[in-house]
């Protein structure tokens, strides 16, 4: 009997999917939720066990397989919390109490890059991301077509990226 199970490098899998799972969990639970890292660890462990047990048969991509485990675990976690809290924790947008020194430095570099932008780019970033205005509203306020808003945002992001590489 031939074993048709796909060969998977588990070390590589952890390296590749841990950030993705962590991002998804943090986005769903909010960075302020203290146990989001535990949930992410549990998901990775669960995925490895399932693969070892032959539950991943290659019917879907490994990404979809892990995504499914992640989504179910998040739902379970929220249900457990709801029993205690009555309400699931609201996913907060961008709190980051677990910020590492490395990510702090990165954030400072990004902040410097943003400060170095021309006012017209900071202006569009302010309205679009900080004020969270829809593209059409930003366009109306700036008196430019919506397409130009996207162009300015994208160009500003490119400039920030370029500034980080220096």
């Amino acid at each position: 009997m031939t074993n048709s199970r796909p060969e998977i490098d588990l070390d590589e899998l952890v390296l590749k999917y841990r950030p993705v799972v962590s991002f998804r969990v943090r986005k769903a639970l909010g960075g302020a939720t203290p146990d989001w890292e535990d949930v992410a660890d549990e998901i990775i462990t669960q995925a490895i066990e399932k693969i070892k047990n032959g539950e991943f048969r290659g019917e879907s991509s490994i990404g979809t397989f892990i995504y499914t485990i992640t989504s179910r675990r998040i739902v379970d976690h929220i249900r457990q919390k709801m029993r205690v809290l009555r309400h699931a924790p609201e996913p907060s947008a961008y709190p980051d109490p677990h910020e590492t020194v490395e990510s702090r430095e990165r954030a400072e570099q990004i902040a410097e890059a943003i400060k170095g932008l021309k006012p017209k780019f900071r202006e569009v970033l302010y309205l679009y991301y900080f004020k969270e205005m829809p593209r059409e509203e930003v366009a109306r306020r700036l008196g430019i077509p919506p397409r130009r808003v996207s162009e300015r945002v994208n160009y500003a992001l490119k400039l920030i990226k370029k500034g980080l590489k220096k």
Binding site: K16, Y17, P19, V20, F23, R24, S61, G63, T64, I66, Y67, T70, S71, P91, A93, Y94, D96, S103, R106, A107, I110, A111, I114, K115, P119, R122, E123, L125, Y126, L127, Y128, Y129, F130, E132, R140, R141, L142, V153, L157, I160, K161
Partner: protein, 216 residues
């Protein structure tokens, strides 16, 4: 990094603007697409900094952006400072008050003192012709009629009383002898007083001056 069809969903996902179906689809996608995930993480870092590090928008810059990009009604209000708006409001209120009150004051009937004792009220009496300098001696004098049963007393002066007559009509013709006494270049004035049937003074016109000036 190649452009992916999900690329446009990154912002909407990070800003929580996707419907549940689209959100699930996009989440499954970035579990399979390293390119989109990398882009999303980069974008998330930038948005995170924009959200947390308010200092990236200088303190004086934020209100400036707000003012510059405000909606049209906000722009109208931002055009003046609150103090200027207050002054403009006060000026507008004053103007309205003046425009409202002035006609009321104008319509107040004049008071006439009769024999130093009796006071009667009356309306204004408007002279029609002549009211400016004229080329020939006027054939008639005309004023605005006040009503029925009103007697008008017309007086023409050339420094002193030249002629005086009464009529119930609102015009009067000059007698030939008076016409002959009016000379070019001389300044004249005329006035009409209106009396009721009972002989009570009810209105007085202003005294209007005119010059007979054939040269004109």
């Amino acid at each position: 990094m190649t452009e992916c069809k999900y690329d446009g969903l990154i912002d909407r996902y990070l800003l929580n603007r996707l419907e549940e179906g689209d959100r699930n689809e996009f989440e499954e996608h970035y579990f399979n697409c390293a390119s989109c995930f990398a882009k999303m993480v980069e974008r998330d870092q930038v948005i995170g900094v924009l959200k947390r590090e308010r200092s990236v928008f200088a303190t004086e810059e934020r209100p400036a952006i707000e003012a510059r990009t405000a909606a049209w009604h906000d722009r109208v209000f931002a055009f003046f400072t609150p103090k200027q708006w207050a002054l403009a409001g006060a000026a507008a209120a004053l103007l309205v008050a003046v425009l409202t009150v002035t006609p009321l004051l104008r319509d107040t009937p004049p008071e006439f003192v009769m024999n130093g004792e009796e006071t009667v009220r009356g309306g204004s009496l408007t002279l029609i012709s002549p009211i400016i300098d004229i080329k020939t001696v006027p054939a008639y004098f005309e004023w605005k009629k006040l009503g029925e049963d009103v007697e008008y007393q017309v007086s023409i002066y050339n420094g002193k009383l030249l002629w005086k007559t009464s009529t119930t009509d609102n015009t009067v013709s000059l007698p030939d002898d008076i016409k002959s006494r009016m000379i070019a270049g001389q300044r004249y004035s005329w006035q009409v007083k209106a009396f009721s049937k009972q002989g009570t003074l009810i209105a007085v016109s202003s005294r209007v001056q005119f010059t007979v000036n054939p040269a004109n």
